[in-house]
Amino acid sequence: MKTSILFILMTFMIASCNQDILDLESLTQPTDATFFSSEEELELALTGVYNSLIWLGGYTLPVQVNMDNGATDIGLLRGGFVGFDELGAGSHSASTGGFGSVYTHLYRGIGRANNLINNLDRAADVVPAERMDQIMYEAMVLRAYYYHYLVFLFGDVPYTDQLIAEPTEALLPRTPKEEVINILLADLSEAAASLPQEPREPNRVFKDVALTLHSRIALYAGRYEEAATSALQVIEGGNLNLHPDYEELFTPQGEGSSEAMLVMPFRDGFGPTPNFAVAQGSRNRGGYSTVVPTQSMIDSYEASDGLAIDESTVYDPSQPFDNRDPRLKASIITPQSEWAGLIFESHPDSLTVRNADGTLRGANNDSRIVIWPAAFCGYLWKKYTNEASQLQNRFWSDTDFILMRYAEVLLNYAEAKIELNEIDETVLDALNTVKARAYGVQVGETDAYPVVTNTGQATMRTLIKRERKVELANEGFRLFDIRRWNIAEKVMPVTLYGRILDEENATMVPDIDEDGFVSYEGIESQYDLNTDARFPNATRVFTNPRDYLLPIPQAEIDTYRANGASITQNPGGY
């Protein structure tokens, strides 16, 4: 018996002595040694490149929303929002963590694209050339998309189109911004020439996306000729239309509209969903109202006669929300309007809130006297604050966030042509198409909306600035616009006033200058002034010219230094 037991145990031991037991491979992850060798693997990697379009900040909102509300004049944030709240408050530094995460996120997307583009050849024998091209160009457009944020946020940045496998190879110097832009524009032109007219599936990059990004980059870079050309190609291509209902475009009903060219997709059951209803929503419905529009945003919407409110004859400060561009009420929840079954009212004196049918509901948490974090200026964003989500499932707003849409193409074209002083019918048509849609009518129905006519380059410049501010509000364009128009130093360091307090007796109207800057000088007393120190982002500071660019993250400077290299910081003192 003893020998048999011994024998069995020895067998166990010998069976296990096998050296192979040390040569293990991951059970769930392939390694780069074998990857990129089939069409399926290329598609998997390409999807990974798309994934970086999902770029989330505070309250898992798109970072674009963080930018518009934290660091521009149209909105305000309370809480941490990837550094843009600190940028607006002027309390940022090179060590501000959010800037590092912005920088990292974008290079992560670029790295994924480079990894795919560099290794594409491995599958050359098994994948048709046409499909290889398509995969490469989709990745190339996405790479340009990530780079354009880097360049317009940080200025000169290290440019590489190679996958970096050794940290020491990554100590790259900054490439001049113009050089990077040249490369991006060339890549996009090449991609546009090869990509199909239609996306091969919804949400994929196609020809018009490449062209629109080309026009955006060129416009931001002041290269108006190129901007106009590529925008015109999109317009003439005729693939795209504006969604008939502006307000609906940013709701679940607007999803899948042909106006939206590139989106950050959200869906119940897929990845994180943005907490729009929490961050932007009413406190009476369980929102926190931490991301809100400012009074100057409200006052930037034209009156219905097509004039700024300080020139309009139909604007009445005692009824400030009547006779206005419909986009005001489409984008913003104004006092006494109905929202999520309640009558929204933010006046400090309104201690109770009523249901939509007029019955009393209870304490009014949208009044800052009832609860201090209520909407800072007295307004809420309606754009993307999904009403259904506000009522139920506040954390699961699943409306896709639009990153690129046809209205931008029209405005890019109009602005480029205005800057070139080539203001013709096509320019007016582009602008009027956007405006007409705001009123829910066709461009030809000239009686139904305030038509724009050619009033000379200077006025047209004012008009296009105003149009971009209201049309694209809360979509992540304002930060780049106030920088390239060099008006950040003027619009940023101001006191943020809230709603008109005594509407009945309100008579004064703020001045609005040619850049769209709204000045409350001399009429401050008409407005609510919320001085609660718990809104650090309400005190706006702009250090000119330093804050036209973000600082290179201190951590990156330190890493270079620790490895015996160096990378320059942006000027202005950090």
Partner: protein, 1007 residues
């Protein structure tokens, strides 16, 4: 059993050397123990000769001595040696007195055991009784204060999660684990995986000499747990049980509603109105004591164990079955454990014996899904003017829907099951004398199943209109199943040889460990009928699932040589060669050696005249160890992660693939080098024992995620870079004696370890929140602002550097450190006139220093009493948020704030003015104001027992019956603000389950 083996061993030696004398006297007699029972196997030697014999099974002996002047030396392991002059007697009976010191004991060491006197490494031995005495369910918790150099930190009282974090001689690693290796009967496990009552003995291997035989797993020290086995003799059936109540040891007390309104400068009219309505209308004018409502339960706990033990010479068995049920002071927290163990020893023949052991365990931990942040932190925060429960029984809205009571009672449960099964088969084969082969095979299976249900509760948003709302917006259930299968195979060969005074033992072994780990996950949301907590009952719209698997293996060869000369000069060498699948093939193998020496001075003739000194030994050791617990099974390959970077095209979710972490092909183990010096002494017949040790433990090639440029677009890999050093000493003193029937003993231990980061590969410092790891300082030091006290006037504020936001007198005044280098010598010499993060410095060290414990025990006529004091001499703790800041984030005010905070009348106060703060406010920052001296002295355990006299027992037909009562964590003396326990984790913001005091009553009965 051990005694028997050793006596047989001694007998064998003596038989071989026995010689007859011609002109001699024959002496006979009996050797007795302290209870007048005959003692078989005792050794009887004629002093200064090689003549000797051993007592037989009746304790009788017979020996020839040269003459009347001869002296007999009678000894037996565990008893004091006795010398008797023969004189004229022919019959000499000897009564041996037990030696209660532990120097005589046999100590479990790596892959074997050894007599304590012959140890050269640093090993602490803890008797199972010291663990079983404490009414705790996690064995790690019972280790607090039991061994010098072993720091056990228990900072939670949550049932099932109240285990202690164990650290042996400090913290050596940053990127890898610092947990010691725990082996249960030789196989890797978790110390909390075992019913404390099953523990026979625990050995703590502290230095490299003791633990280097465990190579790449031993750098954080090793804990060897031996379980109880059957003894030869009649079958004994034992039942032991205890039951008791728990009580939160200490929690803060807060201002009531009226005082709170005053503290927030509420208008007197409003306060008067509030006061008048409070009694009649608590729905609108509440005075909620959140802590009192939260800690509402008795915390009943009970434990039952039935065991059978005994056997014949050929088969010995031990079987036990136990049930644990640990309640809590908060609704819905619970821990249950079912544990079964069956250990058998089977003697096949004289050369072959076998062990078959089985162990199963099922643990069930229940807790509210809301978690500590929502339950405890909110209870620490929400002020008394918010309603918890309305008069009609509905939940109040608390603070913006956060109601800790509703969340814990109605917010759904996390139910975690841990099912465990282990089999162990061990074969011992002795083909020839002193030659032993053993093979152990142990498969182990673990199945963890978590079911987390996030349930909705309904609150009154507005009492008057009875408007309600649901928190959260959506209910959800997630299930996770994790399965681990581990195989362990150990082969050992050992040979012992004695050549006159030269004693050799050689051991060689092979070990193989294979681990497979896989998990699946699934979740759904929107359970319309929420009493069905199964996935099928949820909606399909937000279904998610996931899965993951990994594996690893380790193959090792090791060897040990023990040599001693006349039990006087001791030497030991160990070497282990490990190969791990976690490293690239070219870095896979590593060798870990150690050497140690000992010198028993007390065995030298020089000391034979020093009567009071019964034992004196010097020891020294050096060795190297590794750490392969590096957090990832495949750190050396560039892995493409699937499914982590998906996107939606059209209507379908497309799977994405991406590489996220840069690979480091060169990654290797961390290496720890330990040098140890020690002295052991036994004085006054070993009644007083003492051990003092000094060590230097240096860990190199520490894994650090050295940052790579962000341009790479990948996360930084772990790299072997840093160096950390721990220097410290361990001291223990023991005293045991008996005065008649009164026996008593005392054990004291004291230790300290000083931790210093030596090198961070040029990084200089790693800041993580409010802690910093910096060259020249301990790992994880507290990082924040130094303060000058408080601003006394507006003028002082105006003349000071800018701080944070608008300031008022009574706010904290921070020190503007020298941060600007004007002279260009690289040393900052000027302050920059603004308080910003650059002004932060190290303001504390949260690792315990000067840990000590004192155990006292006495027994008299059936009564036994034990008390244990335990403490920490130096530790800093930074507290923040709702744990300490008044009116933080619309929170409340602790009673002591009103007495110790700054007011214009109390300008020398230690704490700033009570005023509303939120994250980022001047006073709500990591400053030394909020760093507290967390040293303490606690009465860890008091036990009083009574064993019924045998006369009574005989009538009751039981062989043993003991009843006892015990208090765990009775009191804690410290310098923290009232209501705060010094065991609170560093950096706590109040999201913690506080430490509890347990009062229990128990009984042990054996039939």
């Amino acid at each position: 059993m051990k005694k028997l083996v050793l006596s047989l061993f001694v007998m064998a030696i003596l038989v071989g050397t026995n010689t007859a004398f011609s002109q001699s006297i024959t002496v006979d007699g009996t050797v007795f123990d302290e209870n007048e029972n005959p003692l078989p196997g005792a050794s009887i030697l004629v002093k200064n000769t090689a003549t000797g014999t051993v007592s037989d099974l009746e304790g009788k002996y017979q020996i020839n001595v040269p003459g009347p002047e001869s002296v007999l030396v009678v000894s037996f392991l565990g008893y004091f040696k006795q010398e008797v002059e023969v004189g004229t007697r022919n019959t000499i009976d000897v009564n041996l007195k037990p030696d209660m010191s532990d120097l005589s004991e046999v100590v479990v060491v790596g892959y074997g055991d050894q007599r304590r006197v012959n140890l050269t490494g640093s090993v602490e031995s803890i008797d199972g009784a010291a663990i079983a005495r404490q009414p705790v369910f996690q064995a790690s918790q019972a280790l607090v204060g039991l061994a010098p150099g072993l720091t056990a930190i228990q900072d939670s009282g949550q049932p099932g999660d109240d285990n202690a974090t164990l650290r042996i001689r400090g913290t050596g690693s940053l990127g890898a684990s610092n947990d010691p290796l725990v082996l249960i009967d030789g196989i890797q496990g978790s110390i909390d995986n075992i019913d404390p009552a099953d523990i026979e003995n625990i050995s703590v291997l502290k230095d490299a000499a003791a633990s280097s035989i465990y190579g790449s797993r031993g750098s954080n020290g090793v804990i060897l747990v031996t379980t109880k086995r059957g003894q030869t003799g009649a079958m004994k059936v034992s039942y032991s049980a205890y039951a008791g109540l728990q009580e939160i040891q200490t929690v803060p007390t807060y201002l009531g509603a009226i005082d709170f309104l005053r503290a927030t400068n509420t208008d007197e009219d409003i306060i008067n109105d509030y006061q008048q309505n409070m009694a009649t209308n608590p729905d609108l004018y509440p005075d909620t004591d959140w802590m009192d409502l939260l800690f509402s339960e008795s915390g009943f706990q009970q434990y039952h164990n039935l065991s059978v033990s005994g056997g014949t010479e050929n088969i010995r068995l031990m079987g036990s079955l136990s049930y644990t049920d640990q309640g809590s002071n908060v609704v819905n927290y619970n821990f249950k454990r079912y544990n079964g163990r069956f250990n058998s020893d089977i003697k096949v023949n004289d050369k072959l014996n076998l062990n078959f052991d089985l162990n199963f365990r099922k643990e069930m931990t229940t807790e509210p899904n809301a978690g500590h942040q929502q339950v405890f932190r909110q209870a620490y925060r929400i002020d008394p003017t918010q309603v918890a429960i309305h008069s009609d029984g509905f939940w109040g809205d608390g603070w913006g829907g956060l109601n800790p009571l509703a969340a814990s009672q109605d917010g759904g449960l996390n139910r975690n099951e841990d099912n465990y099964f282990r089999g162990l088969m061990k074969l011992n084969y002795n083909p020839v004398k002193d030659f032993r082969i053993s093979i152990t095979y142990s498969p182990e299976y673990r199945d963890l199943f978590d079911r987390n249900f996030n349930k909705m509760y309904t609150t009154y948003l507005d009492w008057e209109t009875k408007t309600t709302r649901n928190i959260p917006d959506r209910n959800s259930l997630s299930n996770t199943n994790r399965r681990i299968f581990e195989e362990n195979l150990i082969g050992l060969v050992s040979y012992t040889k004695r050549l006159q005074d030269h004693n050799f033992t050689v051991l060689a072994g092979y070990e193989m460990i294979k681990n497979n780990d896989s998990r699946i996950f699934a979740s759904r949301t929107d359970f319309i009928i929420d009493r069905f907590e199964q996935l099928d009952a949820g909606a399909e719209t937000n279904m998610r699932n996931g899965g993951y698997a990994t594996h690893s293996s380790l193959v090792s060869y090791f060897s040990r040589l023990n040599y001693n000369y006349g039990d006087k000069y001791l030497f030991e060498a160990n070497v282990r060669r490990d190969a791990s699948s976690r490293f690239a093939p070219e870095n896979r193998v590593s060798i870990f050696p150690s050497f140690s020496v000992g010198w028993r001075l007390s065995e030298e003739n020089l000391f034979s005249t020093v009567d009071f000194l019964s034992e004196l030994k010097l020891r020294a050791s050096w060795g190297q160890l590794g750490n392969q617990q590096i957090g990832s099974d495949f750190p050396y390959t560039s892995n493409i992660l699937l499914g982590d970077s998906n996107f939606i095209f059209g209507n379908s979710i497309a799977t994405g693939a991406s590489q996220n972490v840069l690979a480091n092909r060169n990654i290797r183990w961390e290496t720890t080098e330990t040098t140890n010096f020690a002295i052991d002494a036994g004085i006054l017949n070993n009644r007083l024992t003492m051990t003092a040790e000094y060590y230097v433990r240096r860990t190199e090639d520490i894994l650090l995620a050295l940052p790579v440029p962000m341009v790479v677009g990948l996360s930084a890999p772990q790299q072997n870079a840093g160096t950390v050093e721990n220097r410290g000493f361990d001291l223990s003193l023991g005293w045991r004696d008996a005065i008649g029937q009164f026996t008593y003993g005392a054990n004291m231990n004291f230790s300290d370890v000083k931790n210093e980061v030596v090198d961070l590969a040029g990084l200089g410092q790693i800041i993580s929140g409010n802690s910093i790891t910096k060259v020249g300082s301990p790992i994880g030091s507290i990082f924040g602002y130094e303060t000058y006290g408080m601003f006394q006037s507006q003028e002082e504020i105006n003349n000071s550097p800018n701080q944070f936001g608008a300031l008022i007198p009574g706010n904290i005044r921070y020190v503007d450190q020298l941060t600007v280098d004007n002279s260009g010598d690289g040393v900052p010499d000027t302050s920059d006139g603004v308080i910003n993060p650059d002004d932060r410095i190290i303001i504390g060290n949260p690792f315990p220093r000067y840990t000590y414990a004192l155990n006292l025990n006495t027994a008299f006529k059936g009564f036994d009493f034990a008390i244990m004091f335990q403490g920490v001499g130096k530790r800093d703790v930074y507290l923040q948020g709702d744990a300490i800041w008044p009116l933080f984030n619309a929170g409340k005010v602790q009673d002591w704030h009103m007495e110790e905070s700054w007011t214009p009348q109390r300008t020398d106060a230690q704490f700033p003015v009570v005023s509303p703060t939120s994250s980022g406010s001047n006073d709500a920052r990591a400053g030394d104001t909020w760093v507290f001296d967390a040293s303490y002295l606690s009465i860890r355990n008091i036990t009083l027992g009574y064993t019924l006299p045998e006369s009574t027992l005989e009538r009751m037909k039981v062989s043993n019956l003991r009843v006892y009562s015990s208090i765990q964590n009775l009191a804690n003396f410290n310098k923290l603000p009232k209501g705060t326990n010094p065991l609170i984790p560093n950096g706590s913001d109040g999201a913690l389950y506080p430490i509890v005091t347990a009062y229990t009553f128990g009984v042990n009965v054996t039939f």
